[in-house]
């Protein structure tokens, strides 16, 4: 009986919550402005947003290992330097809020950035605008997007760090999708 009630409740609640949280009736606010380029060490990836919710940054390196809140640091040396949680954003004066991953000595190859909207932190935001900025050796790539509650966007941006010539330094190139 309890199981039946639970199942019914979950089906009903799913329907109701779905009906109550329609896709955004209007576009969420514009993503925050990009920070000015600064001298940074290694490869830096920054996720920024304004709404008081918990977004998570995922950075997958060329070995296919991902640094994110539950795997920090990665075994390959990537670190999540700043991990914003509900307790950081709820009651905060205003955004932008951010998460930042850094790879001090990045290896060459393809990197992938994902964004997850894991928790609305009690807010009513069903969708949030965000900006992702990649900085490496004076080169910047960035993108913006909108992510829905509990949606994981696995590929927000992909880029390559590659050597144009043997022994040369790595350069950052965005991968076209």
């Amino acid at each position: 009986m309890a199981v039946r009630r639970r199942l019914l409740a979950s089906v009903w609640l799913a329907c109701v919550s779905a009906a109550c949280t329609p896709r955004p009736p209007q576009q969420p606010a514009q993503p925050p402005a990009a920070p000015p380029a600064a001298a940074v060490s290694g490869l830096n990836v920054t996720l920024m947003w304004d709404a008081p919710v918990d977004l998570d940054l995922y950075l997958t390196d060329p070995t296919s290992e991902t640094v994110y809140f539950a795997n920090n640091p990665s075994r390959t040396g990537a670190r999540l330097l700043h991990d914003a949680r509900c307790r950081h954003v709820v009651g905060a004066a205003e955004g932008p809020f951010f998460e930042q991953a850094q790879v001090e000595d990045p290896r060459s190859g393809r990197y992938r950035i994902g964004v997850d909207f894991i928790d609305a932190c009690g807010a009513q935001d069903a969708a949030v605008s965000f900006r992702v900025v990649v900085d490496y050796a004076g080169t910047r790539r960035e993108t913006t997007g909108i992510v829905r509650l509990e949606e994981f966007q696995a590929i927000v941006l992909e880029f390559e760090l590659s050597r144009l010539r043997s022994g040369g330094s790595l350069t950052l190139e965005e991968v076209e999708r």
């Binding site: 609640l13 779905a18 896709r23 296919s64 307790r87 969708a127």
Partner: protein, 601 residues
């Protein structure tokens, strides 16, 4: 002689001929043999140590065990450069790098040191030994069963990657992520788990429970002690190599769920080949992309191949669980044919019947599907749910997927109050053509009459019936995933008999298969880095320890040379020791007899 036996004999002759040809072709390849012994610092022989020769270029490892005198002899291997590792739980691993194997015999005198660090000792133990620490912290058997069934179906529990101290906040976020990947647990269990994890895997707790006293797993016995275990790397760290199957031509096919690839290994030549599986218009995440279902960060799964079997004509049939399709691959033309699944969701495990029709479970929607390649006939059969609430829930899923295109459904997955959907899982065909399946979450198996469509449901006296198989006598063998046992069900008498698996700790047998020539039952030691055989006549188990830590196995198949095959498909793959997924072959009793090194000395 009946036709089947004649066919088998012809097939056997063809195999011998093929082997002779292969041997002749291989004659040009220079081979050598590693042999030697393993001793500790005091010169005492170390029995039952795994000696593994790893060929970097071939991406293949070969393992034997030392005998009672510490001696070993690997089978003949290609000349080249190997890393040779010695491993025995209770001793420090030793790796001798860049050992040159040349034509003839290469002697190795390998020294290992006894491990004295209690932390290191504990960390050598397989996940099966750690998981009881966590279960002991939960407040009821029901929660222990729910955790075992729902939190171990992608990866081992108790592995190094799960033994992490985290904040309450982190644990709750992880449970949300897991829920979106299908590991949905009840609110009561979610509430208990953070403290349970942190308490169970605290250093004080695990040292007390696992090292006072330290009891290593027992050594392999009988023909397991003289087995040769070969592992081939397949795919890469972003792969999820799910199931594998042995093709009658001697090659091994497997699928990469995370990267939409079909792999083929020829174990005679070590050649690997892969083909991208056509995605059509399936988006990343397939038909579930609207629901918030989480694909992994390194996933490229649009169709997500899950399971595969070889049809009577040698074509390879593959279920595409996220794409909601079935694929047929023709090894001759290397072309795919795609069958869209219009009704039902999540094509899963598949088997062929005696008429050449392929039957498969549709795990999310509680159906069984059928394709007749000869006639093109398709069937989708709805299975009974245990309660009308479950029936309503599974019927609602397609509507959720459709609605998800327009409204936000995503908050329903991870916040659900534990979902006991039936989940039709394993499937096999009885000698009379009956189609048998399990319903993983509701302790049931069932039989579909393929002619009338009538369905008979049978309660199992254990939890978690998963990938089941018939033996040659028409008895059905079933692993109890969350019960740590195997069961035999007799369709004639309606009786069950169960045997607890001989693994110290918590075992979660995902699948089994029956060698129908001997009726030996082979079982996945999914949480203990092992395969386990069971002789129904003597009712004796034999445990085969596997060399790679975090070896999570989901399927078993047999070749015609006495080899037993499985695949390491722990997900996420980076939890597996080494570089990624593997295809694994065990040949019981095949290790060459070591030379009398001691006598020579």
């Amino acid at each position: 002689m009946n036709a089947k036996r004649a066919l088998r004999r012809t097939s056997g002759a063809a195999t011998v001929l093929a082997l002779l040809c292969a041997a002749a072709a291989a004659h040009a390849v220079e081979t050598g043999v590693f042999t030697g012994d393993v001793r500790d610092q005091a010169g005492v022989a170390v029995p039952a140590a795994m000696v593994t020769a790893m060929h970097r270029d071939l991406r293949r490892s070969t393992t034997v065990f030392t005998d009672a005198a510490g001696r070993f002899r690997l089978p003949a291997l290609e000349a080249g450069i190997y890393d040779v590792r010695v491993r025995r739980i209770g001793y420090k691993d030793v790796i001798e790098h860049e050992q040159h194997l040349q034509d003839g015999t290469t002697q190795l005198a390998l020294k290992v040191a006894i491990e004295t660090d209690p932390n290191e000792l504990a960390w050598q133990l397989p996940s099966s030994r750690w998981m009881p620490l966590l279960l002991s912290k939960l407040s009821s058997d029901a929660k222990r069963e729910e955790f075992t069934r729902q939190c171990t179906f992608c990866h081992q529990q108790g592995s190094w990657a799960t033994r992490v101290q985290r904040s309450q906040e982190d644990w709750e976020k992880i449970f949300k992520l897991m829920g979106r990947m299908g590991g949905i647990i009840s609110a009561d269990l979610r509430k208990e788990l953070p403290d349970a994890f942190n308490a169970a895997y605290s250093e004080k707790e695990y040292l007390a429970k696992l090292t006072h006293p330290f009891v290593p797993p027992p050594p392999p016995l009988g023909i397991a002690a003289t087995a040769v275990i070969t592992e081939w790397d397949v795919g890469h760290p972003a792969s999820l190599q799910h199931d594998m199957t042995v093709h009658p031509d001697g090659t091994i096919y497997s699928v990469d769920t995370n990267q939409d690839q079909l792999y083929r290994l020829d174990p005679r030549t070590n050649e690997r080949k892969s083909w991208p599986i056509p995605r059509g218009d399936s988006p990343l995440g397939g038909v579930f992309n609207t629901t918030g279902t989480l694909v992994s960060p390194n996933s490229n799964a649009h169709v997500a191949p899950h399971s595969l079997q070889v049809g009577p004509d040698g074509t390879v049939w593959i279920t595409l669980c996220l794409g909601n399709k079935v694929a047929r691959f023709d090894p001759q033309t290397e072309e795919f044919t795609i069958f869209e699944q219009k009704e039902g969701l999540y094509p899963h495990t598949l088997r062929f019947d005696q008429k050449g029709r392929v039957w498969y479970t549709l795990a999310v929607s509680n159906h069984v599907g059928m394709i007749d390649p000869k006639t093109g006939e398709r069937r989708t059969i709805r299975l009974p749910a245990r309660t009308w609430g479950q029936a309503a829930a599974v019927r609602a899923v397609p509507a959720f997927l459709w609605l998800g295109k327009f409204i936000n459904l995503t908050d329903s997955a991870s916040g659900a109050e534990g979902v006991d959907l039936p989940v039709p899982y394993g499937i096999d065909i009885g000698p009379d053509g009956g189609v048998w399946f399990s319903q993983l979450n509701v302790r049931r198996i069932g039989r579909i009459d393929p002619d009338s469509g009538a369905i008979k449901m049978i309660d199992t006296p254990f939890t978690g019936p998963r990938r089941l198989r018939f033996d040659s006598k028409g008895d059905l063998w079933i692993p109890g995933f969350s019960a740590g046992l195997i069961a035999r069900y007799s369709p004639r008498t309606g009786e069950f008999k169960t045997w607890k698996l001989p693994i110290d700790g918590v075992e979660t047998p995902y699948a089994l298969n029956v060698d129908r020539h001997t009726d030996t039952v082979w079982v996945c030691g999914t949480n203990s880095d092992s395969l386990i055989s069971f002789d129904p006549r003597s009712e004796q188990f034999t445990v085969y320890p596997l060399p790679t830590r975090v070896t999570y196995t989901r399927e078993i198949d047999f070749d015609t040379q006495g080899g037993i095959w499985t695949s390491n498909s722990n997900f996420p793959t980076w939890q597996i020791e080494g570089t990624g997924p593997k295809l694994i072959r065990i040949e019981p009793g095949a290790a060459p007899v070591p030379e009398q090194l001691a006598a020579k000395e």
